[in-house]
Subunit: 262 residues, 2 copies
DNA sequence: CGTACTATTGACGCAGATCAAGTTCCGTGG
DNA sequence: CCACGGAACTTGATCTGCGTCAATAGTACG
């Protein structure tokens, strides 16, 4: 009976959730909001920002410099959490904007965490998601720091494909890409002009086919090779296979959630 | 009676901790380990890695590509948590190595989290630290993506200074920098040769003085200007001033930690 | 059908990489 | 206390990936 929302697919891909968990989670997402492309979800430096779960559409976090240079530090895809930690703690977030029209669940961070902390499954799933997001950002550092423009594009396309596939937003070999070439440039630390050239090179090399707003990956193997892609950082695997429930680690897990005082 | 360790200074800078919190924290750090510079703390892709608190010395997380290119994605300074989330969840970490001789507290992640979750103060402090680390990484993305080599160096020096100052590891205007120029290059996405040239330019411009392994910042203002430095992302301020305890947000905080079932 | 993004293409310039020598620093052992 | 060997640092010459500048062409929507 659990609906196959992106969030649900994402979390249960890694952590097994009970019926009660899923119900609780859905209950936390009842405050639905729709916003138009371009709307700011959180403005730069705002310390009392809202928190959201992104249900549909894309958003991005970015930093603008005084002279107008812009860097996108992170993309939010369907099923991603937005600003939970910062909202709970009153920490100043970087700016976040809707890239497409988006559907969000606006979340009250304290209530969200209180509920999450009552279930080891939900809490672990959130922690997993948060940590995976950090892995993704760290891989982006590696990408921008050491990969060529061509490699960066290839890497990002494959990453986006895999992330979208996990949440049911990709076909067997293609996905919708709502980013303009300028967005891609700001994401990859390049110029839109150079992105344009490398995009054409990917086409000429027979790696991608571009229809309107959609990217088709023609050879996953060649992408992996070109970008030196190591999928481990996306952690697309179940973390706690049932047959390991008796191991030392897992017993500790159980211990960890006796939440009352000793 | 609380000792002024880097970790203690760091956490209490943001979150007020009780005596009991501090005692509990110290109890979690009893398993001391010393390692030599160059030792691997966690090897690439290891999913059952240990977790640590860095008590003294520096460490770094990095990614090596097949052709030998290397990118440092993160620096760990005294008082930083290393690998807690990944260790708890069994997620595969990027490689982490000791940059200098280090003193660590080896931590059992499940026990650590169980204890942390019993105190709203400790848990919030950990969450704050974790979130701040993410902010730092996101600012690095902006840096590598959009700042020039000269600006990147300036930005990193100021960031390191401020992070070290917070944990009592800097003087009024200087800090010890154990990184070689090659490390700096791998951190900033540059070549050691170019780092060398920009370092000399910073000296010639009267911005830094370099003694053996120490960097003296000669004008904080000029650094801020050059790097378009916005210190907000480091969140160096107390998050919950006592006089706000009656506000709406804080009442929610209190609510958030009634950890027993409703 | 015009106004405003978005994409495309070419000519040219430059920040930073690469290549190639040195040189200085520093720990170790004789 | 010196000598030797390997990092780490320095400096210059040259090259190149990507940026900048400039102009044109789609495309989308009101």
């Amino acid at each position: 009976m659990a609906m196959e929302t992106p969030l649900h697919r994402k979390l249960t891909s890694a952590i097994e959730l009970t019926e009660a968990d899923v119900t609780a989670l859905e209950g936390l997402l009842s405050n639905r909001v729709s916003l138009q492309a371009g709307t700011m979800l959180i403005s730069d430096g705002q310390a009392d920002g809202d928190a959201y779960v992104l249900l549909a559409g894309w958003a991005y976090r970015f930093r603008v410099f005084e002279d107008g240079r812009r860097q996108i530090s992170r993309l939010f895809l369907p099923g991603d959490f937005i600003g939970l930690n910062a909202s709970l703690l009153g920490m100043p977030e970087q700016a976040i904007a809707a890239l497409t029209d988006v559907q969000l669940a606006k979340v009250d961070a304290p209530i969200f965490f209180r509920r999450i902390l009552q279930s080891s499954g939900l809490w672990l799933a959130f922690l997993w998601s948060d940590t995976r997001d950090r892995f993704i950002t760290e891989e982006r550092v590696a990408s921008i720091g050491r990969r060529s423009a061509y490699e960066r594009l290839a890497h990002t396309f494959l990453e986006l494909y895999l992330r979208l596939e996990l949440v049911g937003q990709a076909t067997a070999d293609a996905f919708t890409l709502p980013l303009t070439q300028e967005h891609l440039a700001d994401l990859l630390g390049l110029t839109s002009i150079h992105v344009n050239r490398m995009l054409h090179r990917l086409k000429d090399d027979g790696l991608i086919a571009v229809e309107t707003r959609t990217i088709r990956l023609l050879s996953r193997e060649r992408f992996m090779k070109i970008a030196d892609f190591d999928p481990k950082y996306l952690v697309h695997r179940r973390l706690l296979p049932p047959d390991l429930l008796e191991s030392r680690r897992i017993r500790h897990f159980a211990d960890a959630f006796r939440l009352k005082d000793d």
